[in-house]
């Protein structure tokens, strides 16, 4: 009776504010999603690579957000950049998920030998600074975004594995895994259905959200810094759009620099807020 009531000296966050956070997060993700959808269906207002407008032209009915210094439509480029980033970003998620799940499950359920081996692998990955490893891959792969994002995913695998490990430890301490085993449930079903889907789902999703935020951060940072490491012109990226418009500040052309900056910030904010909301949802349920 009492057990079902909420007990905590410091109630974490009220329900309303949690949903508020999630809602704000989702709203923040809307512009980027719109871009992906628009680009996928070919609804972009203009060709993002064509010099059609006047250089640094202001917003008009034809160009909603104006044009960049080379006369390309800003809105089209903005959306095209989101669409261009999506497949590599998804790849990062896939890599992180598969690597993290394999290593995490092997670490916590693979017995002593495989456990030690995969734990070593994870520690090795974790001990190298993520961004530097990505730099290395970027240097080798000659700024191929697919490879860069695969590296981001790989460096994020320890985080996924940690979520799985803590989940398994919890269930094991609770004798749950053994109970299922004695029932005759196969190990595959225990791992995928009970542990990954039933227990670790929220945490893994939250980690994937923060992975997406990080991947976006890495991509834009590399593209902004230049040095043939990130996305190269003329392919649009929010990072190289800012880099191109960097000096516009001094000539009064703020828009081409500020709009991608806002897009980057709110998209990252959206990913982190959704991830945070998922974590709180999980914390409350557990």
């Amino acid at each position: 009776m009492i057990g079902s009531l909420r007990w905590s000296r410091f109630p974490s966050v009220t329900k309303s504010s949690r949903y508020l956070g999630m809602a704000i997060g989702i709203i923040c993700l809307v512009p980027a999603t719109l871009g992906v959808v628009a680009a996928a269906f070919g609804w972009l207002p203009h060709d993002p690579l064509q010099f059609i407008g006047e250089s640094n032209g202001g917003p008009s009915l034809q160009h909603f957000l104006g044009c960049d210094s080379l006369g390309r439509d800003l809105l089209s480029r903005l959306w095209a950049a989101a669409a261009y980033f999506t497949p590599p970003g998804a790849l990062a998620m896939v890599v992180a998920l598969s690597l993290g799940v394999v290593l995490g499950v092997a670490e916590s359920l693979g017995g002593r030998f495989w456990g030690a081996i995969s734990s070593w692998c994870l520690q090795v990955m974790d001990s190298l600074p993520k961004f530097v490893l990505v730099l290395l891959v970027a240097a080798i792969a000659r700024s191929n975004l697919i490879w860069i994002m695969a590296a981001v995913g790989a460096t994020f695998a320890p985080q996924i594995a940690a979520a799985i490990r803590s989940s398994v430890e919890r269930l094991r301490a609770a004798a749950f895994i053994e109970a299922e085993k004695s029932l005759g449930v196969s190990m595959t079903r225990i791992v995928f259905f009970h542990i990954l889907w039933g227990h670790a789902r929220h945490v893994i999703l939250a980690q994937l959200m923060s992975l997406m935020a990080y991947a976006l951060l890495v991509e834009t940072s590399l593209s902004y810094l230049g040095g043939e490491l990130g996305v190269q012109e003329p392919t649009p990226s929010w990072g190289n759009m800012i880099a191109l418009a960097r000096d516009g500040v001094f000539t009064g052309n703020l828009l081409p620099a500020i709009i991608p900056a806002i897009m980057i910030s709110i998209t990252i904010l959206g990913f982190s807020l959704v991830g945070q909301g998922l974590l709180q949802l999980w914390e409350e349920r557990a």
Binding site: S4, R112, K181, S182, L183, G184, V185, S186, G198
Partner: protein
């Protein structure tokens, strides 16, 4: 073969460190366990916590590795289970775990847990049919049907135990190990659950190993009592003898029985003494034993008493009891 348990010379050690578990100290958990159970028997395994009761139960179901000459449950050799054999064995032997709060996945409804238990051995059963089965099971363990749609955290302790019990019964097992199935519950609920268990066991004529630390719970349920102390079985007696006729023989069993039924007699100054170190030879109970004398040449201090029959079906591991029996 179904419903029988044969255990010969079972040993189990815990511990060991390093990559392959080869280094470090090992703690013996079970030493030289021997017993057999016939079909339809309800044996109670009693002893204080840490005596290895649960470990023995897990060994019998092949959940952990152990060393033994022969352990056969339902006719399956547990040490060499694998493949199809294992699947069939898992269907015929079940365990009700100690902690129902955790042996159910909090993310799935009670109904889903039961459906899974039914469908895991025969995936051809449709969901609707499995649902019907589940409702039958719920009726069997006297769980209201509407409680099946709750998530485990919102079930009460007794209800959770019923769900866990129903899950173990889902495959119609011939052998069930119930590990402290009612501990931590209120007395009325304990009584109800025990009653239910006994009825079901009689109806299905399955063999059951009932692990408990409380002899009161065992008294009217068990047909056989196995007393464990520090990883050894020290007494194995029919319930009739243990509770009614002459009472238990081993001093430890006597103490257990007294603490359960006549707590007042135990009052007064007690001398708490250390247990002898494990594996140091001699009887593990000797320091607490009322009957052993302090002379060191006594066999109690030097020789581990073997589990020997003093009467038909009644085996005790105690030097003193054997002497008594010889004197008689």
């Amino acid at each position: 073969m179904k419903g029988t348990v044969q255990v010969e010379h079972l040993y189990k050690e815990f511990g060991g460190s390093g990559l392959f578990g080869k280094w470090g100290d090992k703690t013996p958990a079970l030493e030289d366990i021997n017993f057999t159970l016939e079909k339809g028997e309800l044996a109670a395994l009693v002893g204080e916590s840490g005596s290895g009761k649960t470990t023995l139960g897990r060994c019998l179901l092949g959940l952990i590795k152990f060393e033994s000459r022969k352990v056969k449950v339902n006719g399956y050799d547990i040490a060499s289970l694998g493949g199809a054999d294992e699947k069939a064995f898992r269907m015929s032997a079940q365990m009700v775990f100690q902690n129902p709060f955790s042996s159910l996945n909090p993310a799935f409804k009670a109904r889903d847990a039961l459906v899974e238990a039914i469908r895991v051995h025969d995936p051809s059963i449709s969901r609707e049919k499995a649902n019907d089965e589940v409702e039958k099971l719920a009726a069997l363990v006297q769980l209201p049907i509407d409680r099946l749609n709750e998530y485990p955290p919102s079930l009460s302790g007794g209800e959770k135990r019923r769900v866990v019990f129903a899950r173990a019964l889902a495959t119609n097992p011939d052998f069930v190990v119930t590990d402290e199935p009612v501990s931590g519950l209120d007395q009325p609920i304990q009584a109800q659950l025990l009653d239910l268990m006994r009825k079901i066991q009689r109806r299905q004529n399955s063999t059951m190993l009932f692990i408990s630390h409380d002899l009161r719970l065992v008294r009217f349920v068990a047909t056989r009592v196995l007393v464990m102390h520090r990883g050894r079985i020290v007494e194995d007696a029919p319930a009739e003898i243990f509770f009614h006729q002459q009472g238990p023989s081993h001093p430890y069993s006597r103490e257990l029985l007294e603490s359960a039924f006549h707590p007042d007699q135990l009052f007064g100054p007690q001398v708490q003494q250390s247990h002898p170190e494990r594996g140091s030879g001699g009887c593990s109970f000797r320091n607490r034993c009322k009957f052993t004398s302090t002379e060191m040449d006594q066999p109690c201090a030097t020789m581990t008493p073997p589990l020997l029959e003093i009467k038909s079906n009644h085996r005790v591991a105690c030097h003193w009891c054997r002497n008594q029996e010889a004197d008689r």
